[in-house]
């Protein structure tokens, strides 16, 4: 019955016009009959007409009620409201434009930040049943914090062989400059065009349920020891480099100088397992043998390069998986025990246990989620507050508009519209405004997110996020539109429908509601706007001051005018014993370039990310904990310190006498000197390094003391650091970096460096970056926060001041007559000014007071993002009070000044 009636009602929608016409006809025939009867009973024609109408009652109401019965009335009223709303909004284009633009900014900012959160944290992998995927991790005893997701190949083989909780289990490892020592270089020598590679186990694509876009994907049979070198391209790479053509299948692709056969293309939309990354080429794990010459990582038991995930068997729970993995752990770890580890290390290794965590949204081994999770949360809160302030602005505007629409609303009520009906009408208008704002906001957001992702990408680390809008973003934006529309609409709608009919019809403006009461609501709105914008100003101030401290910190070396030139001899196929000689000749040719002042060479460069560290010991360091005794290391050429302008404080620098065969020496920084040689002069004394086997190595003599410098991050506490002569440390890789101190802008040196290195060996691949850019890149998170919080703080301030200015202008207009009378009675302009400014100061003081309380309560959340600055920093709060007061007084002064210009005669004539 129910659905039948719905169908009748649905069809009713179409016959409405006809039915309405018929109804009108019925009414008129009814009235005619009644009139006729009345005439017959002896009334005059006029009497007869009105008596019939009286007897009939409210014609419109009868019509409305009948239409309601035909059904789907709510839809009809909605359409009516929308049409009416459109007319209203068209009638005041200025108001509409300001409101839509304000909302677009607010909603756009929210959508943008939410899109980033969605793309980085929440989005499911585009694979079959992503919710069933679990990542396998290791709990390491005595290393508190996050469990590790890294595995060696022998461990992976054991997990694969022994597990019985996953229906499919697979492994992969990222192969780019950060994750791996191998860079997939697409060229042969010269400037590197690198591809982002990923090693995958044979089960990888099958377990994820992916189908090839072309050719075939890597299968278990491709991943056997001694396998053929095959590669699967990502869809994007295929489109970009092969134009999406079939002939790519079977083509040969040169990776780091080795030919790989392209066998297929992964599906579009699949970018890999790691958040913030996208792979270009996937190759089987077994192909590492092609790159690793002597020591293959396939058998290396302390080379942690793989990650493992699996698809849970349908009949078991996640808790059961972790429990079962824990039981299996001893057997797995003993089978993959690193034989060369010291006994302590081995004992701890065997205590490790496996566990499983959800991996449906991919994994974050590189820490994108850890690095940007908190900042994004902070930004989300910030843009939320901005939107609140924007809503308050529009609520203020609506209240002001309510005054001018007073009559319209009174007339509609007089004609029989219920208050609910009017509120609904007004809210529909609001939601229309906010929807238009949301639509425009989505455009802003698309542009903004793309900009932000480009911004957090650095030269060494391109962040990739799939920002295509998904249902979650859509739902978020729609919710945003409805929520904001309601938020700024409800109060004005309720307010403006509370009308006294008679006074409104008489034309005197709602004196019983009174401007003072109306203003009180708006005063509340303004006060909260001032308070909210104050909180954002404080947050922006804290983050910017913290960043300024970071950016101007003495980091121990001179970052300007240094070009970093990284060379990779792998592709040039240089025999290991020829490498030192080749490095020497590269250095010589670089030094000869015009514009180059000094040249250094080292294994690592400051702030390149990652660290090389070992435990060291001296006679005086017995009391140190392992954390305190951990020392950061580097191997450098004699020219390194001069090239970076790191001052030598005592002893000597390295020279050509420090060779592979001469006694081992080191230069240490001040922190190391103080910590390991307390109260001593470290020069001439020795320290020992812990070997991988767990024993202490031979003593190394300290020959120089260098000024403290930052190693990995600008914000770090300076680590004890030791430098060795590059000649005395066996190179683990064929990659090195030359530091060129230049007298000309470093970028001008790129072509000459290219040709100089090319003249030594055409096969050497090159990467170039300035040291300043590298240092900047290491502060990307802090800079992003400072920049965006500053931007949004400014926006919040602007919106709040627009609110203040608008409300005050309105108030001054309202009180024009009063001011006129006062002036006529002899009030000085100064006293009128004071009268208005008193309101401004009251609002300002209340807003700042509440805002200060609010800031003190909330900015503690920022503490971990601040560098050498307390979250309740009074100077910052004082600055915020100063800025806000100055701007607010200015915004208030303009309308107040206008109030003093009121011509008494004009104002009085109004009455």
């Amino acid at each position: 019955m129910g659905w039948k009636r719905q169908i009748v009602k649905f069809w009713g929608l179409f016959g409405r016009r006809r039915r309405a016409r018929e109804l009108r006809e019925e009414f008129s025939s009814h009235l005619a009959m009644e009139e006729q009867e009345n005439l017959e009973s002896g009334m005059t024609p006029e009497e007869a007409h009105y008596a019939a109408l009286r007897q009939f009652g409210n014609v419109t109401l009868a019509q409305e009620r009948s239409r309601q019965i035909w059904g789907w009335n709510s839809l009809e009223t909605l359409l009516q409201d929308v049409r009416y709303g459109l007319r209203q909004l068209r009638r005041s284009p200025g108001f509409t434009a300001v409101a839509v633009l304000t909302l677009a900014l607010g909603i756009g900012a929210n959508t943008a930040i939410f899109s980033l959160i969605d793309a980085a944290m929440l989005r499911m992998l585009p694979v079959v049943k992503p919710g069933d995927l679990l990542q396998v991790k290791t709990l390491i005893p005595r290393r508190p914090g996050e469990p590790s997701g890294a595995f060696t190949n022998p461990l992976w083989e054991q997990v694969r062989g022994q597990q019985d909780v996953f229906s499919d289990v697979f492994a992969w490892g990222e192969a780019n400059s950060r994750g791996d020592l191998i860079n997939f270089d697409l060229t042969q020598g010269g400037l590197v065009r690198s591809a982002h590679g990923v090693w995958v186990s044979g089960e990888f694509f099958g377990a994820l349920g992916l189908r090839p876009a072309a050719g075939r994907l890597i299968a278990p049979s491709d991943d056997r020891r001694g396998c053929r070198d095959v590669a699967v391209l990502s869809y994007g790479f295929w489109q970009e480099h092969y134009g999406g053509e079939e002939r790519a299948i079977g083509a040969s692709l040169l990776l780091g100088g080795h030919p790989f056969d392209v066998i297929g293309v992964a599906p579009a939309g699949f970018y890999g397992m790691e958040a913030g990354e996208k792979f270009d080429v996937a190759v089987p794990i077994c192909s590492t043998a092609t790159f690793d010459e002597k020591e293959s990582r396939l058998d290396d038991r302390s080379w942690w390069w793989l990650q493992i995930a699996g698809r849970i068997k349908p009949e078991i729970s996640r808790a059961q998986v972790s429990a079962r993995l824990k039981v299996l752990s001893p057997g797995i770890f003993i089978a993959a025990l690193p034989q060369d580890w010291a006994r302590d290390g081995q004992r701890d290794f065997l205590k490790r246990t496996l566990m499983a965590v959800p991996a449906g949204t991919g994994v974050s081994e590189y820490g994108l989620r850890e690095q940007f999770g908190r900042p994004l949360d902070v930004l989300m809160a910030v843009v939320g507050v901005v939107l609140l302030i924007a809503c308050a602005d529009i609520a203020s505007l609506m209240l002001a508009r309510a005054v001018s629409r007073h009559k319209e609303i009174a007339v509609r009520q007089a004609l029989g519209a219920s208050r609910m009906r009017l509120v609904r009408q007004l809210l529909t208008e609001c939601i229309m405004l906010s929807s238009a704002g949301a639509l425009l906001g989505v455009l802003f957001a698309r542009w903004g997110t793309a900009l932000l992702v480009r911004y957090i990408s650095t030269a060494r680390n391109t962040v990739f996020l799939d920002l295509s809008p998904d249902s979650r973003i859509l739902a978020f934006t729609i919710a945003m539109a409805v929520l904001t529309g309601t938020l700024f609409g409800v109060l004005p709608a309720l307010r403006s429908t509370r009308v006294s009919l008679t006074s409104a019809m008489k034309g005197t403006q709602a004196i019983e509601i009174g401007p003072s009461r109306r203003f009180r609501t708006r005063q509340w709105i303004i006060t909260s706007q001032v308070a909210l914008s104050f909180v954002l100003l404080v947050a922006a101030g804290l983050l910017s001051r913290s960043f300024a401290k970071l950016a101007t910190l003495d980091i121990g070396f001179d970052r300007s005018n240094v070009l970093l030139v990284s060379t990779d001899l792998n592709a040039a196929k240089v025999a290991p014993d020829r490498q030192p000689a080749l490095d020497e000749s590269i250095e010589t040719s670089l030094r000869a370039l015009p514009g180059v002042v000094a040249v250094g060479r080292s294994f690592r460069t400051p702030m390149e990310g990652g660290a090389w560290s070992q435990l060291i010991t001296t006679e005086w360091s017995k009391g140190l904990t392992a954390d305190e005794a951990e020392t950061w290391l580097n191997a450098v050429s004699p020219g390194y310190f001069a090239a970076l302008r790191m001052p030598l404080l005592a002893g000597r620098s390295f020279t050509s006498v420090d060779t592979a065969t001469s006694p081992r020496v080191a230069i240490v920084n001040q922190t190391l000197g103080v910590r390991f040689f307390p109260g001593q002069n470290p020069i001439g004394k020795g320290f020992r390094i812990r070997q991988p086997s767990g024993e202490w190595g031979p003593p190394i003599e300290v020959v120089g003391l260098i000024k403290d410098a930052k190693y990995e991050w600008v914000s770090e506490d300076t680590h004890p650091t030791a430098f060795f002569p590059i000649t005395q440390v066996p190179a683990r890789t064929a990659r090195q970096t030359f530091e060129l101190r230049t007298a000309i802008p470093p970028s001008a040196l790129v072509p000459p460096v290219q040709s100089a290195v090319g003249s030594v060996d055409k096969g050497i691949s090159l990467e170039m970056l300035t040291l300043a850019a590298q240092v900047n890149d290491s502060m990307v998170q802090e800079r992003l926060l400072a920049l965006l919080s500053g931007f949004f703080g400014g926006l919040a301030l602007l919106l709040a001041m627009i609110g203040l200015y608008g409300t005050l202008s309105y108030l001054v207009n309202q009180r024009q007559t009063e001011f006129g009378v006062r002036m006529a009675l002899g009030a000085q302009p100064g006293s009128i000014l004071r009268l208005v400014m008193r309101d401004v100061i009251a609002v300002l003081a209340a807003g700042e007071l509440v805002g200060t309380g609010f800031s003190l309560a909330t900015t503690g959340l920022l503490q971990e993002m601040l560098f050498r600055l307390g979250a309740r920093d009074t100077a910052t709060i004082a600055i915020a009070i100063g800025v806000l007061s100055a701007v607010a007084l200015l915004a208030g002064y303009l309308p107040a000044h206008r109030a003093t210009k009121v011509d008494p005669m004009v104002a009085l004539r109004y009455e």
Partner: protein
């Protein structure tokens, strides 16, 4: 037609209008005005029916399938819509009437316990 004082008129109990309309139509098809007049005549003007309120009720009864309608011409040559009771409407009237009687008996019993 004897006019009663407005104070003596009784407001209709919600839902009873439907029953009255159906009852009126038992005499044969008629138009809205005829229905209004019948109700007034039968109740000797005691029941106050705003003529306009008949029409939403008629729409509802039609939607329920208890009455049907067609255009016709009235005595004095006025084009009007005539409503006719359907068999479903007849059943509905029976059910409504017996329910109403039970309701009245019950209320009366409470108000005037066996004298």
């Amino acid at each position: 037609m004897a006019k009663q004082q407005p104070g003596d008129r009784i407001e209709l109990v919600y839902g009873s209008l439907d029953m009255l309309i159906l009852r009126t139509l038992l005499w044969g098809p008629t138009h809205g005005h005829g229905i209004a007049k019948s109700i007034e005549r039968l109740s000797e003007d005691a029941l106050k029916v705003e003529h306009g309120s008949l029409y939403p009720a008629l729409q509802r009864l039609q939607q329920e399938g208890w009455v049907s309608s067609e255009w016709g011409v009235s005595k004095n040559n006025q084009r009007a819509k005539y409503y006719r009771l359907t068999s479903a409407g007849r059943r509905q009237l029976l059910a409504e009437t017996s329910r109403w009687e039970r309701f009245v008996r019950a209320i009366t019993g409470v108000l005037r316990p066996a004298e």
